[in-house]
Symmetry: C2
Subunit: 296 residues, 2 copies
Amino acid sequence: MTARRVLVTGATGFIGRTALAPLGALGFEVHAVARAPRPDAAGGVRWHRADLLAGEGPGVIRDIAPTHLLHFAWYAEHGKFWNSPHNLDWLKATLDLLRAFADAGGTRFVGAGTCAEYDWSRSRYDEASTPLLPANLYGAAKASAWLTGSAFAREAGLSFAWGRIFHLFGPGEPVTRIVPALCRAHLEGGRLDCTEGTQLRDFLPVAAVGEAFARLCADDGQGAFNIGSGRGVTLRALSARIAELAGREGDVRFGALYDAGPERLVPEIERLRATGWRPPESLDAALRESLAAARG
Amino acid sequence: MTARRVLVTGATGFIGRTALAPLGALGFEVHAVARAPRPDAAGGVRWHRADLLAGEGPGVIRDIAPTHLLHFAWYAEHGKFWNSPHNLDWLKATLDLLRAFADAGGTRFVGAGTCAEYDWSRSRYDEASTPLLPANLYGAAKASAWLTGSAFAREAGLSFAWGRIFHLFGPGEPVTRIVPALCRAHLEGGRLDCTEGTQLRDFLPVAAVGEAFARLCADDGQGAFNIGSGRGVTLRALSARIAELAGREGDVRFGALYDAGPERLVPEIERLRATGWRPPESLDAALRESLAAARG
């Protein structure tokens, strides 16, 4: 077996940092690139400094000559990323990286997509049959990276996989996101205005998402892979479970906000399961971590 | 009414050059950009020299400050464009142009898409309901320009229309394309190996395509617009008509080649009709031109 050397972009990010240790455990020589490397983030990782938006990605790829490229880097500022023009910059940078990777003799590219690529008027999300119809610029740019990237890879003889991330939560996420906000409301008995809360979502602990991408790297399956547990939970049930684990209940007001989004956003995950990855049996352990973080 | 100034990219190309006179007739001040301008191509057009792939597009847009941008420029070398990595370059250049156009105060962008964006396993091609599932890199990059471009435009407050071109023929096309090849075979009594020839296609004279895009510019409808006559013809029927018009019959062998593609590639064109554009009543006049060109 030849040595497998993976380069991870966005390696200091919310998801990227959780993929490093699983990649090492799967036998990869792990390289990580970031504008501001954090060499303490995981042991055994070789860090490289580069600004992918400044066109420094292709040079790093030539220097490292990775066999695998796991590409997480994208604009992700909470509340702003959905419709920012930075999505255009990241689409371009992603295509540049992919092309440099092909030119440098890379063999497998794994990229991070999103459930926002899909037509949200469907209630079933299946990689092979659910049409893409992004409702925002982020979803559109990610769908574009998938469409153009995968077609380019086919021509270039590159193996190409694309993990479409659904909902997730975990350490380091902004406190205004739903799980940290629910944790704080319940712990502090505070008020939190929510949407109706009956919509079904698939919440996955971020560490499981990092695991899934590491598995995708080690696998040789091509195409799109939904990243989720395959199990839906309503926001109301999630909130109730957090209150149980917290031992206190906050003033969470369901129905106070509009725009809950689609009724059901839960992926089919047969393709991901085929890599050997399994979702956690329960969210409790991860929710306890979120509660601990909210306690500060 | 404020002055309407349109900048046409790819203005020396097969389609682009046919849009210039119709734009003038619709009252536009017409500017054209090309790497190698051909000021003789149409009267009353102001020509500008720029290489869009060298990043010169945004500067031209700032200089001209067009209210409308009609973007045809793309890699189109016959037989190569379907799967060339140049499609990535043109996707990037298109997004750069669009962004510069928004920054320069432009109001309406009209771009050239393709029927290859659609899922060809469908037999009906409707802008609102037919899923996109490009089968090649050209279709993928065009679909990406549509998805990301239209989502960006929505955020930037730009009006955005996208014309999906189906089949077309006309002056200046490579002689190896189907209509010139059929003309030559019939005129010269030569042999031409064809696919089964029973598949339905919508062939539109290129001048009608240029007209349609000019109408789209003058219109204010947004989103995707199929560009076609809405009428299907089999390759066998097209060949027979060319033979009739030529007054001679060549040795056209249907079924000699595989890979005829989808059975039916004929668009719904209600959206395009709403702009006031109408397809030609008959292909005969345009086929006579193709026969004349084949006579040399």
